[in-house]
Every structure is written in C-alpha cells, then in structure tokens.
Amino acid sequence: MTQVVDRPTRRGATPSRQVPVGRPRQESRVKVVLYLLAAVLSVLVFVVPLVWALMRSLQPNATITSAPDLSTFFKLTFDNFRGIADQGHIPRAVLNSLIVSGGTAVLTTLLATSAGYGFGRFTFRGSGITFGLIIVTLMIPFQAILTPLFMQLNAMHLTDSLLGLVLFYSTVNLPFGVFVMRTAFSSIPTELEDAASIDGAGTMRTFTHVLRPLVVPGMATTALYAFLAAWTEFLGALTFLTRQDLYTLPLSLVNLQQGAYGQVNYGYLAAGSVIAMVPCVILFVALQRFYVAGLSAGAVKG
C-alpha cells in the first residue's frame, strides 16, 4: 500500500511524475503490485459503469429492456438523442437547467465576492454578527425548512419561477461562497491596496484593477460549486416548480421515468441521464486544477 513516508525521499528527483516501477530501492515490489491492482480494480468499479451508461444511451429501448443478445448489443445509434430532441421536453429542461445553473453561478459569485471583499478587507461594526449569520445557515438544512420556504416563495410570487429557483439556490450556496471569497480577499497583502489608494483609486477601482485578478480562482471555485449544485439539485426544484415547461433536467427525467411523456422509453432515460452527466464531468475535469487553486486560496504570498 502507498505510504506518506515515501514522499520525502521520492520527492527529490521529480515531484509529480513518480515512476514506482523504476525505483525498487525505495518501494517494494509488493507495494507497486498492490497499487496497480487497486488502480485496475478502481477502473473496473468506477469507470466501467460510466462507460456502460454511455453505451446504454446509444442503445434502443428494445435492447436495453431485453436480455443481452450479442448480435444487437453493440449496434449503437443516436436514435435516443434524436428521439428526445423531437419530443421536446428534455431540450426545454436542459435549457431551463442551464438558465438556472448559470444564473445561480453568476448571482452566487456576485454576492459572495461582494461579501468576501467586505469581510476580508474591511473592519466594520457588526462584521462578526453578519458573518456569523451567514455561516450558521450551514447548520440549517433547507430540506428541513421546505414547507415555510415554499410558502414564502409563493407569497413573493417566486414559485413556478426560474428566478425563484435561482434566488433559492444562490442562498443555499452562499455560505460556502462567502467563506471562499473571504479567504481569497484576506490573503492579499494590504500593501497592494494601499499603493492603489495612494494612486487615487477608489473602492470599486481598487477592486476591478488590483484585487479582482487575485481573487479569480476563488470566484471560479464559487461559480463552479454553485453551477454543479444547481445542475443536480432535485428536492427544491420538485417542491417549487409545478409547471412542466419550467422543469429542470432532473425533474424532466423523473417525468420520463414515470411515463408522464408517454410510454416509458429507457433508451430516452439513458440518453437524458448522459446529458445530465456530461456537463458535470467536463466542468469538473476541466476546472479541477483551477478549483484546487481556488480552495487553497491566496494568490500572492505576502
């Protein structure tokens, strides 16, 4: 098994590209074999199901719902995707989900950046209470205040509204965003800002010209989390939306699964699930580095 103890000795030559096989001196062959076994097992357990799902989305309903027959099993087509495109419900839901997730990402990032700037760079009366108010909401799961939340949104005419959903999701994601942005702002050295203000820059100008480039990783983290959370959220959407034309993708897939769009077609369900899955995978894989950079906030070391 791998051990942290190996790190200092192996780090010397090439930090990120370790070649365990070529370095038997530090690492026993048993460990290497165990690592390889673990890697193979991991691929089997974690990658194969996802590839399998991808293949399912390319099989017609008849193939998916019958015992596998090798003569038809690998006949792959895009018919499911064409079918759900023609049906129109899923494309509409994808659009709704993009609007809601994009809106949530933008609004959460704006609110969190503003608050992070305030908490991270200003001393003001009430900063303790206001920061506490935001962070303590982490302890109040929205699942448990669903009914009053529904009634409040209803009173504000924000149920059956994509805007309402954006406001709700932004609130849910706000504590994390504020936390990340406060860390990003407070790790910037004061001298940078002082220099800007000596040059006559105001709060806004200091932000856009001096601080913004340094907090971009934090903003990316906040936006990414908010987007993914909104994209996959289920219970809130189910509660706050009743109009089918406003349904987000997960809700639309429930309709598909339960036959609300006509006879249940598992090919369509597989294709819809893959559509739901792909943005998550792409965003996460593409922005992973950025994301880690944002989490270990602190662009300039003082």
């Binding site: 590209r17 305030g118 699930s273 995978v281 989490l295």
Partner: protein, 319 residues
C-alpha cells in the same frame, strides 16, 4: 447521504478550505486606513439579506406554521402544540425515522472505510494517482439524482446490468426485481450511495493525510512498526478531526436523504422505503397537511443540529 443536499457539498468544501491567513483576525478587516467602515457593511449586506430572507425568516415562520393546522390552500387556525403532541402517535413518522436510522446505520461505516481505502491508494504522488483521485470523485460530482436514473435501468429484471452481473457470477438467476422489494431496494440504494459518495470522504481524508509530516512515519518505520500499526497509531489518531467531519457529513447527509428514494422506489412498496424527508414531503405536498409536516420539520432541524453537536463533542473528547 444525499447529493441533492447542496448544503452537504457546501460543508464539505468549507472543511477543505484552509483557514484565512493568520495575519488577519477571524472576522476579517485589514486595518487599512483608506477603507471606510460603511463600505464594508454595504458590501456584505446583499448576502446577509439573502440568508435572512430565505433562511431565517422561513425558519421563524416555520415555528408559527407548526402551531397551526395549515393546509396548503385555504384558511387555517392556531392549534398550539397539538401538531407536536400528535407526533408521538404518528406511527408512519416513526417508521420513517426507524428506516432512516437503519439506512444511516448501514451506509455510514462503509462510506468511511471505502473512502479511507481510496485515500490510502491515492495519497502518495505516484503515476496516475491524480487521475485516480478524479475517477473516485466523479460519481459525487455527477450527483445521486443522475446516478439514480441510471440505476433504474440497470435494476430491471433480466436486462439490467446488476442482474446480468449477479447471474454471470452465479449468485442469482438474473430475474430479481430490485425496486419492488423493500429489503432488496434498500440494499441496492445503500450500495449505490456508498459507491457514489465515498469519493467525498476520500478527498477530505487525502488532504488530511498529506498534512502529516513524513518524519513521523519514518521514525515509526525505524522502530519496526508495521503498515497496519502505523495507520492505527499515527494516521487515524492524527486524522481524528477529519474523520469526525466526514462522519458528520455522512450521517447528516443520510438523515436528509431524499432523491435516491424518490427516484428509485417512491418510498415503496407501501411505505417500506420512506425516509424522513420523503415522509415530510408527502405529508406537506401530497396530503396537504403543512402544519403537521412543519412540526416534523422543526423536529428534524433540532435532531440534525444535535447530531452535529453530539458528534463533534464525542470525537473531540479524546483531545
């Protein structure tokens, strides 16, 4: 554990975020003379307004609603603590509580163990370890809602992959109808959840493991400590707080589980696979008994807060 609970995701990430720079106080503020205090307050007010409007006001409102017989539509009257008093006789609620406890009991330890094993595999910087980390975390990123839909296909008798696999291995004849049998559906959902969310525990543990100084292990190895005893006497004690955090996230996530049950079983057969949140949801939005449902919600809020507090307390005792 539920993925749709963005709050769970939020807490997890907040945990992996390093604390603010030590140069600043806990509550921010740079002491720069050029910053007017009013500006700071103005900058944080929008965010505060959001949490007040969409968290605190509903929470206070909830306490009031829970003392009424509020239907979703129509008039209502104040009933005092009647909704709370009737909880004791609400056998369906207690059934959902027991079911949630059972579910939590089944998944919690495996999530920790699987997450720990994953962390052990990827913690050193070997070739491919970054890729493995990504692979392990992918199901969590995809989310339980999508994973549940895919599971629906693969749980079908005769055609689903789960049945095909079990048949190929000789365990069953491949005709199992997983989703219409309470215990089987529970087992399937637990397996799905363990598979789907252990990656989160892994991420939390890896960052903790990498923070432990290598010298400690080196001296332990020189003293002849075996791999197992180094894990048991160095890694696990030093990761106590991270492990506590993962357990809390996992337990709270399980208590708030909803999506996988809603998609895979709708709580059935009967009410055999109905966890608490699904029960409250049905009470409020299917049976339209919002007052009673909100009283149950308040109980849930308190229980979740107590689990948080209790687990922190238990796991910090040993300090």
């Amino acid at each position: 554990m539920t993925l749709s609970g963005t709050e769970v995701r939020t807490r997890a990430a907040a945990e992996t975020t390093p604390p603010a720079s030590p140069r600043r106080g806990l509550l921010g503020g740079t002491g720069s003379l050029t910053h007017r205090p009013g500006t700071g307050l103005a900058l944080v007010l929008p965010a505060v307004a959001f949490v007040v409007t969409f968290v605190f006001v509903p929470l206070i409102f909830a306490v009031y609603i829970s003392m009424t017989n509020w239907p979703l539509i129509g008039s209502y009257k104040f009933v005092g603590f009647a909704n709370y008093a009737s909880i004791a006789q609400d056998t369906a609620f207690w059934k959902s509580v027991l079911y949630t406890l059972l579910y939590t009991g089944i998944v919690t330890l495996p999530i920790l163990v699987v997450g720990y094993l994953m962390a052990v595999v990827v913690r050193a910087n070997r070739r491919g370890s970054t890729l493995l980390r990504t692979i392990f975390f992918l199901p969590y990123v995809i989310g339980l809602s999508t994973l549940s839909f895919l599971t629906v296909l693969e749980a079908q008798p005769n055609s689903g992959a789960i049945n095909l696999l079990l048949k190929a291995l000789g365990f069953t004849d491949g005709t199992t109808a997983w989703l219409v049998n309470g215990p089987l559906a529970t087992g399937l959902i637990c397996a799905l959840v363990i598979w789907g969310v252990s990656g989160l525990t892994m991420v939390l543990l890896v960052s903790g493991m990498q923070a432990i100084a290598g010298e400690i292990y080196e001296s332990a190895e020189m003293d002849g400590a075996s791999w197992w005893s180094r894990e048991l006497h160095i890694t696990i004690p030093m990761l106590r707080r991270t492990i506590a955090m993962s357990l809390i996230l996992s337990v709270i996530g399980s208590f708030l589980a909803f999506t996988q049950f809603f998609v895979l079983t709708q709580g059935g057969p009967g009410t055999d696979t109905t966890p608490i949140v699904l029960y409250i949801y049905q009470r409020a939005f299917v049976q339209l008994q919002v007052g009673a449902a909100t009283a149950l919600s308040i109980v849930l809020v308190i229980v979740v807060a107590l689990i948080s507090a209790g687990q922190f307390w238990l796991l910090r005792e040993k300090d």
